[in-house]
């Protein structure tokens, strides 16, 4: 099953995919264009992986890491499907990152790889934008690069884990203005999903609605104001986002 959190008629609802439309939790059937998409869950702790695809690491002139390169993201950065992300006027290189998002379903501590899938509630898509101009070499990548307001579109759906036969064999693609700019497969992760759950839960407790953004493959290209960026994970969802500029923000 695929569920979304949406706003419709002044209230927040759970919604289900319904023959190209949405069926709300109260039984109403509405058009997708008439709702505001929220993030499919309210994320608790969010982990993101750097350099978790060898081809992307090479593209950035890094060796693939010997242990997972993990950083955390705060709630301010997340926005839903069909929303807008701000590109500051002074930057020269802001790129999308299409990622498979893993949503934890229950408390996990010291979980072994072979049991890791039991702790997953479902999957979604995230676009983990980065602004390379702001990179500095302290706790890199730092929050100014990776935790900016509006810079992590997430959604549209939460897809039940039971409906995903093999999350380690899914195609990822990004299109900018309908042009294919990034493609890869989750097969090429340096640290696969069970390894990441084993690693994180080896030193801390994971809880329901913690999210792991599993990294992005090769294909980082600068984006411009007005670009429509579509990050898609096969069978999981197609996440649409539009880049806007500083001029939309009148108070700064």
């Amino acid at each position: 099953m695929r569920t979304a959190r949406i706003s419709y008629g002044g209230a927040i609802h759970e919604a289900f995919e319904w023959e190209g439309r949405l069926k709300l939790d109260d039984g109403r059937i509405v058009e997708e264009k008439d709702v505001v998409w929220l993030t499919p869950i309210v994320p608790r702790t969010v982990f993101a992986l750097g350099l978790n695809y060898a081809d992307h690491a090479a593209e950035l002139a890094f060796d693939a890491p010997s242990e997972p390169l993990v950083f955390l993201k705060g709630p301010n950065t997340f926005i839903g499907h069909q929303s807008t992300t701000r590109r500051p006027a002074d930057v020269s290189y802001m790129h999308y990152e299409c990622e498979l998002a893993v949503i934890i379903g229950k408390t996990a501590r010291n979980v072994k790889k072979e049991n890791a899938y039991k702790y997953i509630k479902g999957y979604s898509v995230a676009n983990d934008y980065a602004i390379r101009d702001y990179l500095e070499n302290y706790y890199r990548p730092n929050l100014r690069v990776k935790n900016r307001d509006t810079c992590t579109p997430f959604g549209p759906w939460l897809v039940d884990a039971a409906d995903v036969a093999d999350p380690m064999d899914l195609k990822l693609t990004t299109h900018v203005n309908n042009e294919l700019v990034q493609q890869g497969t989750t097969k090429d992760m340096v640290f696969d999903i069970p390894t990441l759950i084993e690693y994180l839960s080896s030193f801390m407790t994971l809880s329901e609605n913690d999210v792991i953004l599993t990294g992005t493959p090769k294909g980082s290209v600068d984006t411009a104001v007005g670009d429509v960026v579509v990050t898609e994970v096969q069978g999981i969802g197609r996440l649409v986002n539009t880049i806007i500029g500083d001029e939309s923000f009148t108070n700064r």
């Binding site: 608790r44 702790t45 982990f47 390169l69 993990v70 950083f71 955390l72 993201k73 705060g74 709630p75 301010n76 950065t77 702001y134 500095e136 070499n137 302290y138 706790y139 890199r140 990548p141 730092n142 929050l143 100014r144 935790n147 900016r148 307001d149 030193f203 801390m204 407790t205 994971l206 809880s207 108070n251 700064r252």
Partner: protein
């Protein structure tokens, strides 16, 4: 019961003046409780009754996200000396360097701090926590304090680590690694957050002394520079940073952080096998 009286606008009980309004969270009670706290005493006044701190089951008074700031004490940056020009850092920091203490790290006054298996020393990161009261988006330095609800004490516990090149999630995000409390002192009760002495005692021995006078980015400036790219929401906490030469503690050590005008945060280092997570989130 101790009778409290008002003298010159201050609450007085047993001759002790309770100068600051604060809010604290008691385990099992959903709302924050308003109290009056004194300086250097282990008692608080709740509804006119004087209560010993040891008789209160404190809970973490925080509901939002805790953001830490790296290298915001002059002595920390000076301690790195030439290293900031060398690999892998290559140049001194320009913007605030931040990190997140996630919800699993939240801990409370009086609770044990778990020592992970295979680790023998933990770094005690004494930090003033700025508690946000109003949604802060791109605030300017002049009005930044208007967005602050108050101040608290945070022990930003870490497994000691030399390199600060990659995010230290494994060293900083362990369960129980972020005691917060015991309360949030109202902003109005803190006349100058950029002039607060900080002392850390381990087993009653003074091991660190510093002051928020030594911040590279004082409180208002830090809020302005952070909210330029990242909204802080009510209930979020921004740590001003940990002073240089943070002391280390071992299993069984009693750790006390004092920040003048804010209070005292006490915890003991315990074996992680005996640590049970409870309280909020």
């Amino acid at each position: 019961m101790v009778i409290c009286t008002m003298e010159n606008n201050s609450l007085v009980a047993k001759g002790v003046k309770y100068v600051s309004h604060a809010r604290l969270k008691v385990l099992g009670v959903p709302e924050l409780v308003s109290v009056d706290v004194g300086s250097g005493t282990k008692t608080v006044v709740i509804d006119g009754n004087e209560v010993n701190m040891n008789d209160i089951q404190f809970d973490t008074p925080i509901t939002g996200t805790v953001f830490g700031t790296l290298m915001n004490f002059k002595g920390v940056l000076e301690g790195l000396a030439e290293a900031v020009h060398n690999k892998p850092y290559l140049s001194p920091p320009i913007a605030p360097v931040l990190y997140i203490k996630p919800a699993n790290t939240f801990n409370r006054y009086g609770e044990g701090i778990p020592m992970p298996e295979g680790i023998s020393q933990l770094e005690m990161g004494a930090a003033l926590g700025i508690v946000i009261g109003k949604k802060a988006v791109a605030v300017n330095e002049q009005t930044a304090l208007d967005y602050v609800a108050g101040f608290t004490i945070v022990n930003d516990v870490s497994i000691p680590h030399e390199s600060i090149y990659r995010p230290a999630v494994q060293q900083k995000a362990r369960d129980g690694f972020c005691p917060i409390g015991p309360w949030i002192v109202d902003r109005q009760a803190v006349s100058n957050p950029d002039d607060l002495p900080i002392r850390v005692y381990i087993n009653d021995e003074l091991r660190q002394e510093n002051s928020t006078k030594n911040l590279i980015r004082p409180v208002a400036r830090l809020l302005a520079d952070v909210t330029e790219f990242m909204t802080l929401n009510p209930g979020d906490v921004l740590l001003v940073g940990v002073p240089e030469e943070a002391p280390q503690a071992k299993l069984g050590d009693k750790v006390r952080i004092e920040i003048a005008g804010i209070g005292i945060l006490e915890n003991v280092i315990v074996d992680e096998k005996t640590f049970i997570r409870r309280g909020t989130k």
